[in-house]
């Protein structure tokens, strides 16, 4: 295949554009699917020529694209946001959906009209402004309204960090602020504390003086995990087995009493099933439980008495609904997250990166990506799989 030079590129007006049009008559490589199904069965790689760059177009290279649970559910056909199956733009006789929703891109070239507005310049980095763009690919032609400029250098925030920050810490920050007015000394409790959202929630809460009780699945190296989460600022880390024990309630009560007696006002759940019921039971009267995931593939069940007599409220949180409806607010929140990362206040989640390099064949690219998906499916919870191009 043709070697694709992407950076540095000539930045003089005019020259770059003409030069790039020629360079990028090369192929784009994208992870696609023709029908919904198990990702390892239905995901394919599709090569297609990049279209000519129109006056308002922006040519981008994907630097880092994470695999999020929503992406997988989307491929499975069980996610409410459905992709568009398309043909012409991607030169395919069969309608194909482009997979992946989040990613960090580098601006490679901009059409003359976009160039005039100076919103994006070659070398800038950007994140997706909306879902459904199809981010598991090498290059794409985007429009200005598809992108949010990333005002940090790679030295400040790596592309891998940026690619994951727009989803998990944003979800965590919004859930910690949208449902309950948590004050310093207050508590929240969460399942799946080891997840990307869970780790972000621990740190964001700690930044604000909010205590956390963090439930994780029991495992052989539980002490390491407890230490790991404690180092992020977790007040307490408990296993799902511990919290399932009725007697453990007294332990939690004594923790809260010892720390000033403020209330457990919020619960965050990415599981469903028993773990979720068990954290609902720990909430103080009038508390709110927010469900943002269903990793246990079981519904949320709460005793009627918790709702009626303890005045517990249940909600769901879906980042995509909010971010697609409020792209400007999203930009503000994401910039807050990036500021924290840049200041070292928010640590990165553990990441596996999977590289697409220029020397790989299409089939090799697909195999690299399927390995990433398999690692996700096999349950590397807490470790984010990210496709990168260098």
């Amino acid at each position: 295949m043709l070697p694709i030079r992407v950076w540095p590129l000539p930045r003089r007006p005019g020259a770059g554009h003409a030069g790039l049009r020629r360079l990028f008559s090369a192929q784009s490589k994208a992870i696609v699917y023709e029908t919904y199904g198990r990702p390892l069965d239905v995901l394919k790689i599709h090569s297609f020529p990049l279209p000519d760059l129109g006056p308002a177009d922006i040519l981008v290279k994907f630097l880092a694209s994470p695999i999020n649970p929503a992406d997988i559910n989307q491929v499975e056909g069980v996610y409410p946001l459905k992709p568009r199956f398309r043909t012409t733009e991607i030169s395919s006789a069969t309608p194909l959906a482009l997979a992946g929703n989040e990613g960090v891109v580098e601006i490679v070239d901009v059409g003359p009209q976009s160039r005039l507005h100076h919103a994006f310049n070659p070398g800038d980095r950007a994140i997706m402004r909306h879902t459904l763009f199809g981010t598991w690919r090498s290059f794409a032609v985007a429009a200005a309204q598809d992108l949010t400029r990333l005002p940090f250098t790679t030295a400040q925030i790596s592309s891998v960090q940026a690619a994951t920050a727009s989803v998990n810490p944003t979800t965590a920050l919004n859930m910690l602020t949208d449902f309950v007015d948590l004050q310093p000394g207050d508590w929240f409790i969460q399942t799946g504390a080891n997840s990307g959202v869970g780790r972000a929630a621990i740190q964001i809460a700690a930044l604000r003086g909010i205590n956390s009780i963090n439930v994780v699945r029991d495992r052989d190296d539980i002490d390491n995990l407890k230490q790991d989460l404690s180092s992020l600022g977790a007040t307490h880390v408990v296993t799902d087995k511990e919290i399932a024990d009725k007697g453990f309630r007294a332990t939690i009560k004594s923790w809260v009493a010892t720390a000033g007696g403020k209330q457990i006002k919020l619960g965050l759940s990415c599981t469903g099933g028993d773990s979720t019921t068990n954290i609902a039971r720990q909430l103080s009267a009038g508390g709110h439980l927010v469900s943002y995931g269903g990793m246990a593939r079981k519904p949320v069940t709460v005793p009627v008495s918790l709702l009626i007599f303890k005045d517990i409220h249940l909600h769901g949180y879906w980042l995509s609904r909010w971010s697609d409806a409020h792209p400007d607010e999203k930009e503000t929140v994401v910039n807050q997250i990036f500021d924290w990362i840049n200041q070292g206040k928010l640590k990165h989640v553990p990441v596996n990166t999977w590289s697409w390099t220029d020397d790989l064949s299409d089939d090799e690219r697909l195999q690299v990506f399927k390995h990433a998906v398999k690692t996700y499916i096999d349950g590397a919870h807490g470790v984010k799989q990210v496709l990168v191009q260098t």
Copy 2:
């Protein structure tokens, strides 16, 4: 036993008081329990002399006292509001709890101090201002702060109507207003539509132009019940079996579309279990489900996707929490209910009355009451059991 004359009584200041003190040196009869347990096992009758009327005291006769689910749960020991087990006031060596929380009384006599304030006069009727008074009894000595005057004649609102109105229609009215701003043309859906709360909700909603989908348990005389609830203003009545069928969703959608396409913004559940899950599924995006009872003795279960992607919110409603915290607001709401009843806009729930007459022995009074309880327990849902004295 002594025959107790209660009305008419001399109303001249002074004379009545002295006369009553003498008359009511007779016994009060109260349904009590020594330990929590199954109501038919633990409920007993206790006779004790009425205490002398102090200057601020008010002597009351119970005219009508309903059996509500909360009363039964309280006797079973599974209700969060616990009665006080007492000895001296009721002349018992063993600590006993007085059962029953709601009732309508007639003022028989007032002590000289209360008489001065003219808040209550002999012949007035009143309802309980707080829970836990112990209303399943013949006579009691109360204080002004225990009572809310009932500003209607018996011709306007019977005591049986008044005794049930302060609980069920109040619950219905508050649930229809506290969680969602329902506008004319909007919809709500409910389980246990045949209950006291359910019937009140149908009528109050209809008064405001709000549509209702009413779920009842399937039964032999289902057509009669459907007709009954329709006559109250129910827009549609469906069985739990019908709504459990996935295909029925299309029927409900067409009902809503035909009626102007407004949304099903609110669900009310007194059951738990599958019925509750099934009405949650019918709610429009962003809808609220309120649980106020657990007749099915099963928890509330909702798919994670309903919370996250459909933005459904779950709450509980407990009238006693509200009414004990806001007695003045309760008075306003109850008076609104009484106005509707008086205007014929709110029909009474079906009632079985169980009479305590002067000629009954203590054991006979207990048997009458246990029959009422047994009728309740055997499942006369939608028919309220009320203890009356004439």
